[in-house]
Symmetry: C2
Subunit: 320 residues, 2 copies
Amino acid sequence: VTTYLEPERILRLEADRVVFLDQRRLPLEEVEVSCRTAAEVADAIRTMVVRGAPAIGIAAAYGMALAAATGEDLVAADAVLRESRPTAVNLAWALDEMRADPSAGHARAIHHDEVERCRRMAAHAAGLLGPGTRALTHCNAGGLATGGYGSAVGALLAAWERDLLAHVWVDETRPLLQGARLTAWELETAGIPHAVIADSAAASRMAAGEVDVVFTGADRIARNGDTANKIGTYALAVLASHHGIPFYIVAPSSTVDHAIASGDEIPIEERDPAEVTGRFTARNPAFDVTPAALITAIVTEHGVHEPPYERSLEAAVVAA
Amino acid sequence: VTTYLEPERILRLEADRVVFLDQRRLPLEEVEVSCRTAAEVADAIRTMVVRGAPAIGIAAAYGMALAAATGEDLVAADAVLRESRPTAVNLAWALDEMRADPSAGHARAIHHDEVERCRRMAAHAAGLLGPGTRALTHCNAGGLATGGYGSAVGALLAAWERDLLAHVWVDETRPLLQGARLTAWELETAGIPHAVIADSAAASRMAAGEVDVVFTGADRIARNGDTANKIGTYALAVLASHHGIPFYIVAPSSTVDHAIASGDEIPIEERDPAEVTGRFTARNPAFDVTPAALITAIVTEHGVHEPPYERSLEAAVVAA
């Protein structure tokens, strides 16, 4: 039996607070952080107590439900949460959802639905694999990032449960090491064979013929399939293309931003250069954009979307 | 006036010791390490007190001169130094050189010649650039790596002195951060504008049109031009090719191993996984091999060698 993180261990709404497993302190310590106002939830998002596009959306929904339950100004609560991080579209999506009904039940339904969507997209993604697959993943698109089960890591869990997965290469994912800290922790919990590598070592593992497929999550997907995700994703897509390795994005349909035509319109967050180096001048873009042409397919809860994405992603919206 | 590191500050031979600037502790502290036997010099090489292929060769030469001066068994001294690191060919080259004459004068001449070669190759490399160049470099191929002036960083110094260089992107170079610690320190010392980036951020800087050229050093070059260098170099070469950016190796001719036909024969050092992650399973290859087809040119002290390298590198040997 594959064990994985219970959704309410990752984040949950209580009567007067939102409680988060502090992802900054994993894997060394499992510590919870309680937020008692929408502004405190926004701080938890900004400081990356909780991260991952779907989990950020769930956190914002819980923040709105908390604000409604405690009598906060909902317009102000919406504004402070909306500004907490700029790149993930799920944040705005969840806040838009909560406007009509800021109840606890609605927020919990969003959380529940997000996890169910992960299970569906993971099953679709596992269907792309043959036995003995050696996969590579970047950053953390696991249960911690989605509120449970995971998108790209969910695909690995589903492949493992179907006995299709031999090994996972885990990019450590500088500067904040979400791969080395969070994805490795999740895979260890699930009992899946894996090894952490420096981000720059992925290319030589591909050249050695030790990578059969790349799975990553997404923070925002434009109508044409251009995909913003953790810095380094674009490099992996170029490298996978060079080595003839399929490169899949696994993400819920809530990640698709139908309002924008291409990746050029996606804002890229620049974080504190001190995350890269304490002493010298640095640049620290948190995301990059992978052009649709380098993406073999995008897997959502609706199925496997192939190019041209403008059509295949739109069909999913209509089907939903 | 561009200031740079004096060669004898990086490493030097004294009457009864070899003295190294401890590169593991830069940029936080400038501390020297003294070695009084060849075995201690081998330890300094293995533990990366001194690193960089040409500097390792000079260190080994000084180790042999020390052994000769203090009456050590020269066969044993040669053996312990030869095994200290596996990838750089300069180590074996310098030890072979010292067999005929293990004197202090000979070792110092090797050091002096290595720095002079750097100045010559840097001048050749700078000749490839136009004004306003924004360069990217990986790891440290600076004075610290070559015993003075530097190969790839030497090219940047020469370009800066000729007013051709606008900016340098410095890959931090995980896991040991030689870029963020050593190259940034050297560029700051020289007054050259630069910014450190996560290794995985190089691709998006290229996509943004902010990289005009890539310069790296080399640890070993096969007859056909295949080049082993710090892990991540191969990824940069694939990315540079994808973006139409010239990718140059800058290295002394002592880095060329004419005994091997291709990169397949270059041993790749696997270092302690704990350098990557303290807690989870990891793989830590220290180098990768960039196929000759991805290298625009190889610059040595003899000039700019273009493909086919089998011919252009051989011509340099004959000329020398």
